[in-house]
């Protein structure tokens, strides 16, 4: 979107950092992709320098991204990027989700959102999410969030892009 004009209907606002970590971003137009791809390149470089079976864990990725954002915050022109980092830790078999804002405040959360979605979706997730939620229940929950956004947002909502991170990698999901 540029002002009121829709430029693209299906814009993938995620980048795959390594086989088990995905980063979703929002924020200022140029900054988002520039920062995301800088992070993507550096996380992939780490994977190449080391054994390809020995990738950074999601918590390590989140901590690296936070540090880069924190450095940027006190620079002449900080990146204005809000992030969600999802990952599956193949060592502990644990899923991780990190919430980071452009100030580089970072928190590990069971579910989170950025922008207007925070106001519409977090209350739904507060009510219906549980720690042992299955993928099917998760899809149902995302559909509820989607419905709420369509209902409450005064824009022509173009839908969601859903990606799932599991032990065997990242796949796109039809909601």
């Amino acid at each position: 979107m540029r002002g009121v004009t829709v430029l693209k209907e299906e814009d993938d606002k995620t980048r795959t950092l390594n086989p088990h970590t995905l980063m979703a971003f929002s924020g200022e137009a140029g900054d988002t992709v520039q920062f995301a791809e800088y992070i993507q390149a550096n996380v992939q470089l780490y994977g190449m320098r080391n054994n390809s079976k020995w990738q950074l864990s999601p918590s390590a990725v989140a901590s690296f991204v936070r540090r880069e954002l924190a450095k940027s915050l006190r620079s002449r022109k900080p990146y204005y990027v809000n992030l969600l980092i999802g990952g599956f830790d193949t060592n502990t078999n644990e899923p991780h989700l990190y919430w980071l804002d452009y100030l580089a405040a970072s928190a590990r959360t069971p579910y989170s959102a950025h922008g207007y979605a925070q106001y519409y979706c977090l209350s739904i997730l507060d009510k219906h999410h549980n720690p042992n939620i299955t993928l099917e229940e998760g899809q149902k929950l995302l559909r509820m969030c989607h419905e709420e956004l369509v209902k409450r947002l005064p824009i022509d909502y173009k839908g969601l892009l859903v990606k799932v991170i599991r032990a065997d990698g990242i796949t796109e999901l039809e909601l």
Partner: protein, 205 residues
């Protein structure tokens, strides 16, 4: 509203007892009125020293990581843990280094000196001015409320059990009157040969 000290919210309090100290923090991380996380502890351990940090969440993390590095380097150089009084001077000089572009944090230190066995608490402003106290130190968005509860509940020479009850009630009742802090608390009661960490469940609103 755009004050960096009150964007994310949070509260820390430390108290002195008889041969013991206690330090407590809330668990909220917010963006203005919106709560983002209810598991964001603000107390960090460095050997014998406990450091509480309130203020801008990004700086809470940055500063806690910076002191982890500095204290580890100190431990390697000196081959011993850092003492609370030394840590206070390290915090002070590290913050003053950033005098004209400060970290937006209000640190609190609590600990027992391993040699003299004396309890020690102190607080700082964001540019490193040390506030030594023999009773209690408060910091964060609920600091006004904490001053009130601490002033009325604290008394000298409390035993660890009494100190725990006092600091917990001071904390819980203060954060309930502050919209930007709360959502549970961590309380550390430090005696010379034992540290007890307790998780308090608070009001979830």
């Amino acid at each position: 509203m755009s004050n960096p000290f009150s964007i994310n919210g949070g509260a820390v309090v430390a108290m002195v007892g008889k041969d013991c100290v206690a330090i407590a923090c809330d668990l909220r991380l917010g963006m203005q009125a919106l709560t983002v996380s209810n598991d964001f502890p603000k107390i960090f351990n460095y050997g014998d020293v406990y450091l509480g940090l309130t203020g801008l969440a990004t700086d809470v993390t940055t500063v806690s990581e910076m002191f982890r590095y500095k204290v580890n380097m100190y431990r390697l150089r000196e081959e011993r843990d850092i003492e609370p009084e030394t840590m206070a001077n390290l915090v002070s000089s590290s913050l003053y280094e950033k005098r004209f572009g400060p970290y937006f944090v209000s640190p609190v230190i609590a600990g027992i000196n391993p040699h003299s066995q004396k309890p020690f608490v102190c607080g700082f402003d964001s540019i490193g001015c040390i506030d030594f106290a023999k009773d209690f130190i408060v910091s964060g968005t609920a600091s006004d409320q904490l001053f009130g509860t601490c002033e009325s509940l604290w008394e000298p020479d409390m035993e660890p059990e009494d100190l725990f009850e006092t600091i917990s009630q001071a904390m819980l009742n203060s954060v309930d009157r502050d919209a930007l802090s709360g959502w549970g608390a961590h309380v550390y009661v430090i005696t010379k040969d034992k540290v007890v960490k307790r998780l308090l469940k608070g009001r979830q609103d």
